[in-house]
Every structure is written in structure tokens, then in C-alpha cells.
């Protein structure tokens, strides 16, 4: 009983308590009113505010009434104070926000049917939810340039721009390059490139994401697919070892774009342009069917041929080289390493060479392999390809099983590989050494299987299957299991979760890591979150 009479525990001194529309919110000091309102389920409309950028308070769309303050305050800029009383539904602030929307729409073109942002547009959402009034304007709209080529990836439609300046701040604060500016004033104000500049930096496409309307559009995505028809599946960027969290936006088995997914520990709100284009490779030169000596074969025939060739080798396994890939997932590498252990084969790791010019101290790093740390954890003793090349050239290695299509070895070694009787590739793409392999087994790429990768910081991050792999491709671990059953090795799993359990029980750094929740593609149309 005594518990009930006690006062509720006082918030820690780092927090302040305020009242918003009669609801009590306790938030850390320094939070703005807009974010504090979100914690109690109040959505104050805003255009120029972005949680990952500095505060501009130039759109005036988030005005709220703060008691004892004679003027309405922009809630994005207003820092919370102890005992502050905020009203967002009173007549003054509601009218102010509605009128701001009306002003914003005065010169907005009637472009929704042809606008790429339609369906995920912040202006559409705020108008529909916060204003929804009829037009009162009959004057002609101010006309501005509709197609301005700002840079290699981005086109500007100046009429649609609502002058929020988010894109300017992205260039300044994320890319660190001042490439965009505003010119003119009033209703002639217009976004433009800074003198002598183009919108050309490694993070430029983030401006398209933060644009609350369809003013900035990506040349890669515009006029290809309607945003609301896409499904979103969380994934991890495969461009480098940073492992930016992404969403694959896809439809009917085809990815159309990658956008960053907020993760404060890894990438914040952003990702680089190069990473965004990695989706295109999912459709290029895919290996969709198993091949034996370059000709299509059934899975059954391919693994039986492989088993026969392996059986002809000395039993101690010393002549077999198994090459793991820093481009492939933890699961696929773990499965193949386990099979290699059953054979007592030598382990190597293939990785793409570092690109020093990429490293910028932000998100981009020199290591362009998404899973180098993961392979290192799975197979700490695996040698790199220098030893592999020596082994191939001296004849110590007589059979090769490799994962992926990246096998950066010299031409001489590749030529020698072609003469080998037993080269088995587990590959997503039909490229380079895969073409030379006697047996190629098709496996699912990163967007097509439930798997995980480990970034440079050792963080194991999960990718979800967005759509089915092409043709007869199966997840890499399943391809390994099929090969194992043909050679009589006891390596088999019932599903991706089974592999995960096996892996987290075996690989020490990941002991006891949870499988987490499986995520299914979410229809953006009904997600209600974008825009």
C-alpha cells in the first residue's frame, strides 16, 4: 500500500518534464519541442526540420503556442524547458500552420500525377492531414525552370521546390561541400548550385531522400516506378565494410532503388551514392542454373559430377583448396568453412582489393568488402590468396571450391585453374573465374536470402529476403548442403535459422546472438511512414 502513496520517481536531472496538449512528456535536456511531441504521439507538421541536420526554422510549418510566450514558436528550434506548457491544437497555432500550408501550395505546380515523389511526399501528407482546405487562389502560379541538370545524378524541378533548404544542409553537413544555394527572394526564390559548383559529391543522393517534395529527383529512379507500388525490405549495403543500413525498394522480384535506413550506430540517416547503385548488379549476368563444363545441368547432375571429381582426389583433403569470400554473407561462408573442415581442406579468403581513395572519414571506407570481418571471425586461420596462388602454381592444390565470383589472382594462376579437373564455383554471377569453373552452382544474392554480414566494427547485421532468387539458385548454405550430401559429408541445415543457430554456437564472438525477427516486405502504399 505504501507504494501507491509515494510520488512517482523524479526524472533524472538530465531530463526535463513538460506538458504538450495536456500530455506530460519527459525528455532529455536539449531536445526540441517537435521531438518531445513525437514521444507522446503528437505529429506537428514540419518541412525544413530533419533530425539528422542542423535547425533552420525557415519553413515556419511547425509553429506552436508556448505559454508565457507572446509569439508562436517554431517547435523545431524551441528547446524544451522544465514545466513548459505547449499547445499544438489551439486556434492560433493551428491556423498558423494551416495558413503556412496554404502559402506553400500557392505556387506549387499540379504535378502529382507525373511527380516521382507522389505517394511518399511530405507536402501531400501534411496537406491531407493538417489542412485539407480548398484552394482560395485564382492568380497564375509563378513559373520556374522545370528541368535543371544539377549534377551527375540529380535533376531539379524548381517549381516544386518549397525552399526548405534541407538539401543545402545535406551538402554542407553530410558531404561537407557547399554546392547548393538559394537565389532571389520571395516567391522568386529558387534553389541553384553555388557559383562554379555542380551538385557532385559522394553523398549527393541524400538530398533526394530529404527533399520533402519532388523538386530533386534521382536520374536513376525518376520515371521508372511509382513509389507507392513498391515494397520495402530492410537490408544492408554491400558496397563497403561500413554496412550502412538500407531498405530495398522492390516490386515483382526486381529491386528499383536502395534508400538508407536510420541506424544511429552505423550510418545515421545517410548512405553514399555508390552504395545506392549496388542494386543494379542484382540483375546483371546472373547465374540462374547449375552448369557442368559450361553447359546447363540439373542440380542433381551438377553435384553428382562434383562428388565424382572430388572422390578421385587423395583422401587426406590436402589437395583441395576452399576459398571463402569477403563479399558473401556470414551464413554462406560458415557453411562452406564447415564443409572444408569435414574434408580437412585448406581455407583461403578472397576479397576485393582496397580502394584507398574511397576513405573519407565519414561513411565511405577503403575496404569494399561487406563481410571481411565476418569471414575473419569464421575462419581465423584462413590464408589470403597469395598462398593460394603459390599452391596453384606449384601443384600443391589440385582442386578448388570457391564462393562468389571474385578471385583476384594473376592471369597465370587463372590459366592454370582452367586446366584443373575439379573447380567448383558457388556463385551469384556468371563472371570471371566462374566461367572457367568446371562446375558452377547458382546461389542467391544478398537481396534474396535471409542472411547476415559483419561490418568493419564487428557488428553483425541482418539482411532479409526481398524476393526470390533467379532460376534455380538457392541460398549459399543450401548449395553447400547439397554438395555435402553428394559427397557424403555430414553438413546439413533445415533453414536459415538453423544455420544461424549452428553458427552462433560455433563462432565465439557471436555466441548467443539472437536470430531476431524475420521481416516481410512492407507495402509502401500502406506503410504510412514515408513522406
Amino acid at each position: 500500500m505504501s507504494d501507491q502513496t509515494q510520488a512517482p520517481p523524479a526524472p533524472p536531472p538530465t531530463h526535463v518534464t513538460l506538458t504538450i496538449d495536456g500530455k506530460t512528456a519527459t525528455v532529455p535536456k536539449g531536445t526540441n519541442v517537435l521531438e518531445a511531441a513525437k514521444t507522446v504521439g503528437i505529429d506537428i507538421s514540419a518541412f525544413c526540420y530533419h533530425p539528422g541536420l542542423s535547425i533552420a526554422a525557415c519553413c515556419r510549418q511547425c509553429l506552436v503556442a508556448v505559454e508565457k510566450n507572446p509569439k508562436l514558436q517554431p517547435s523545431c528550434q524551441q528547446v524544451v524547458g522544465e514545466g513548459m506548457v505547449v499547445h499544438t491544437t489551439d486556434v492560433a497555432s493551428t491556423t498558423a500552420r494551416k495558413q503556412m500550408l496554404e502559402f506553400t501550395l500557392v505556387n506549387h505546380p499540379i504535378d502529382c500525377p507525373i511527380c516521382d515523389k507522389a505517394g511518399e511526399c511530405t507536402l501531400q501528407r501534411h496537406y491531407f492531414e493538417h489542412d485539407n482546405a480548398d484552394s482560395r487562389i485564382d492568380t497564375p502560379k509563378v513559373e520556374k525552370p522545370k528541368v535543371v541538370d544539377l549534377g551527375p545524378h540529380i535533376v531539379l524541378d524548381a517549381e516544386r521546390c518549397i525552399l526548405c533548404t534541407r538539401c543545402i544542409r545535406v551538402c554542407d553537413e553530410v558531404a561537407g561541400q557547399h554546392q547548393l544555394e538559394m537565389k532571389q527572394r520571395g516567391d522568386h526564390e529558387e534553389l541553384t548550385t553555388a557559383p562554379g559548383q555542380r551538385l557532385d559529391n559522394p553523398y549527393s543522393l541524400n538530398t533526394v531522400d530529404v527533399c520533402p517534395v519532388g523538386a530533386l529527383t534521382s536520374k536513376d529512379f525518376r520515371f521508372t516506378m511509382r513509389a507507392w507500388e513498391l515494397d520495402a525490405t530492410p537490408s544492408i549495403c554491400q558496397g563497403c565494410a561500413t554496412g550502412c543500413n538500407t531498405e530495398i525498394h522492390h516490386k515483382d522480384g526486381r529491386a528499383w532503388r536502395l534508400v538508407p535506413r536510420h541506424n544511429p550506430e552505423v550510418n545515421g540517416h545517410w548512405m553514399c551514392d555508390e552504395g545506392r547503385f549496388t542494386y543494379a548488379d542484382l540483375r546483371e549476368q546472373r547465374l540462374a542454373v547449375a552448369t557442368v563444363d559450361g553447359l546447363p545441368a540439373t542440380w542433381d547432375r551438377a553435384v553428382k559430377t562434383a562428388a565424382a571429381k572430388l572422390a578421385a582426389l587423395p583422401k587426406d583433403g590436402g589437395a583441395i583448396a576452399v576459398v571463402l569470400s569477403a563479399q558473401a554473407s556470414n551464413e554462406d561462408n560458415f557453411a562452406l568453412a564447415k564443409l572444408a573442415a569435414a574434408w580437412n581442406a585448406k581455407l583461403f579468403v578472397a576479397a576485393r582489393p582496397e580502394r584507398g581513395e574511397r576513405a573519407d572519414g565519414k561513411l565511405r571506407v577503403a575496404d569494399v568488402n561487406p563481410n571481411r570481418a565476418g569471414v575473419a571471425a569464421i575462419a581465423p586461420t584462413a590464408a589470403d590468396l597469395t598462398d593460394f596462388e603459390i599452391g596453384v602454381n606449384t601443384g600443391a592444390i589440385r582442386a578448388v571450391v570457391f564462393l562468389g565470383h571474385d578471385l583476384p589472382v594473376s592471369e597465370t594462376a587463372l590459366r592454370r585453374l582452367r586446366e584443373f579437373d575439379c573447380v567448383i564455383a558457388l556463385a551469384t554471377h556468371e563472371r570471371g573465374p566462374v566461367k572457367a569453373a568446371g562446375i558452377a552452382l547458382p546461389i542467391a544474392a544478398w537481396a534474396e536470402a535471409h542472411a547476415s554480414v559483419t561490418n568493419a566494427d564487428g557488428k553483425v547485421q541482418r539482411m532479409h529476403a526481398a524476393f526470390a532468387p533467379p532460376g534455380q539458385a538457392v541460398p549459399g548454405w543450401e548449395a553447400v548442403a547439397r554438395l555435402a550430401s553428394a559427397v557424403g559429408a555430414k553438413v546439413a541445415w533445415a533453414g536459415a535459422r538453423d544455420v544461424w543457430k549452428d553458427m552462433t554456437a560455433t563462432v565465439k564472438p557471436w555466441a548467443g546472438a539472437p536470430w531476431g525477427r524475420e521481416v516481410r516486405p512492407l507495402s509502401l502504399r500502406f506503410a504510412g511512414s514515408r513522406g
Binding site: I110, G119, D134, S135, I137, R525, G528
Partner: protein, 413 residues
Amino acid sequence: MADLKTLVLGRKEVAELDDEHELPHELMTVNMGPSHPAMHGTVRIVLTVDGERIVKGDVQPGYLHRCFEKEAEHATYTQIFPYTDRLNYVSPMINNCGYAMAVEKLLGITAQIPRRAEFIRVIVSEVSRITDHLTCVGASAMELGAFTPFLYFLKAREWLYTLLEEVSGARLTHSYVRVGGVGKDLPAGWLAKLEVRLTELEAVMVEVEQMLNLNKIFRDRMAGVGAISRADALAWGQTGPIGRAAGIDYDVRKDHPYSVYGEFEFDVPLGTTGDCLDRYLVRIEEIKQSMRILRQAAAAIPDGPIMIDDGRVALPPKAAAYNTIEAMIRHFKHVVDGIKVPAGEAYTFVEGGNGELGFFIVGDGTGRPYKCYVRSPSFVHLSTAEKIFHNHLIADIVPIFGMINMIGGECDK
């Protein structure tokens, strides 16, 4: 089959059977449907017969299952209207209204629907009820050999379908009602046309009733056939003409007046025996009562808007959508995202052609329902069919099934 025979003979009074005088016989299984002229709407009945007598009639619906409820979870609230048309497809307007009312209840705008829209909903619903009953009675009479009433009633039904086509643009699948009102106003002079057709329909009713009411063949096939007691009807959840034929004085329009039904005078006909003849008579009387409501509504319908004045619910006029960005956004959000319905759940029920037609909707705050359940009276009624068939002759299935008026689209959802 021996077990079944024992079971059945045990259920039937064994004492009545005189084995010495009966010929040796075996139980036989006969398929009736799914492709059979009397199994309208495609349903299969697996009959176990003892001679001509039905021992067990296993009704197997589902041939018209279209996943209505699941489909509804992937369509916006407005896109669901065409699906509701295909529930009871001889009275789609009533389905439209029932569904719209459920969404409106969830939105909390039931009281703000314009009066003219409510009157139009009542008018089109009652016209639909008449077409429903005309079809049911006409088809049943035809299946019993009386072809003329069928032709007369279908002729009359076509007049009414033509009227509904003028209102909605579609003869059968109207998709006319909207959340917040109706799609378009009644065409000019429509109510006068309706009155002309009602007068002509009265003449047709006299003709058909003269042919059927005292027709010995018709009465012999209907009276005392397929009777269900009031208690049984209650226990089995029978509503509509079937429930009322059994003496249950329940009509949603009277007992839970929705829309503007409370303002009209009409009677709820009741049967006494609960057999097929009573079901027929109840339906005939309901056609007349519907005509009564129609005449009152046509006289009292007010002028005014036919759609709620709320930007969140009503589509903007086309001219505005093409010429102002505000209306364009609203139009876009309506069509692509759907009407934003708050999270919560609502159940509404209306008097459908066959009984209480209910819609239960769970909203999750997006533009589509999280769950949309329909209480379809045909499904409830069909579940009693096996019980009613028992001990009747094979030929009796035809009037019984006809008077249950199972509508495949509604029963199978």
C-alpha cells in the same frame, strides 16, 4: 454404409418401419450439384438417400469463394465497394450501404451523412430488395414447373435493373454508395420513372399471385415442406424472410432503425408455420412493403448535397482536382493511400435481401482495413439446410433450396 444406416434408422422412428413389407434396399449416395440447374450459385449437396427419402444431405458450399475478407485487407476502403457488389449480387446496393455504414461508424461520421444521401440509400436499397425477392420467387416457381411467373418477374426485375443502371451506370455491380454519401445524384426525372415502374410492378404482382397463390401444384410442393420451428430458427440464427416465416418478429429496419428507416411506415410480415409457402408469402408481402417505403421516400426526399462535406472523406470535384493543387493532393491521397480511418473496430448490420447482413471492420489507422468480416445471412441459412432436408424427398430439395435463397457470392464470400 451399414453404420450410417443404423444411425439413420435409429434417428428415424424405427417402429414406423415395417421391414416385412418393404422391399430390400440399400442406402445410395447421389450428387446434386455443383452443376445442377436448381443449385443456383453453384453448391454441391451430397445426398444419402433411402429410396426417394433423404437420409443425409451434406451441403458443400465454397465453389464461389473469392477471398472477399482477405482481399479487403489489401484494398483501400473505397476499393472494397466493388467486392461488396459481388456478395449478394441480386441486391448489391444493400451490401454497398451496409459496408459504407461500417466505415462511417469507424470514422464517427454517421450523423453527418447528408439527408438526401440517406434517402437515396434507402430508395436504392429497397429497389434492390424487390429485385432480390423477384429473383428468388420467380426462380423457385420456375424450378417447380411454373415458367410464366419467372418470365413475368424477370421482366419486372429488368425494369428495376434499368432504373439502377441509370443511377449508377452499371446494371448489376453498381458500386454506387461511397463512404460519406453516394457516388452521384439521382438523374433528373428518375423518381417519376420509378413511380411508373412501381405501378407496372403492382400489375405484375397481381398476375403472378393469381398464378401461384392458389395453384394446387405450387401449394402442394410448398406447403408443409421444409418447415422449421420458431425455436429452431432462433437457435440457428435465422433472420430475414426465413426467420420471419418461422414467426420471429425481427427486421433490422424496424428493430434497429438505421439510415432514415425510422421515418417510414411499413409492416413486417410474419409467417406461422415456417415452411416454404410461408417463406414465399413473406417475400411477396415484403415486395409490397418495399414499394410502400419507396413511395414514402420518393415523396419526402429532400434536396441537398449527396456527399459529406469533409475533405478527409469526400473526393474533390474533378474540375478542382485538375485545376488546383489542393484538390489534386486530396484526390491523390484518396485514390492511392485510401481514406484514413482511425484505429478501432466497428460492426454495423442492415436488413439485407436474405436477412441480417453485418460488416465488422477493424481499422489500424491506415487506408485499408486490418480485418473486414462479413456476416452473410446466406451462409448462416445454408448451415441449417442439412437439418431441413432430413426426411424430405429428393424433389423437395428444389423448393427448400429455392426458398433458402442461397446466393453463392454472399455465402461463399
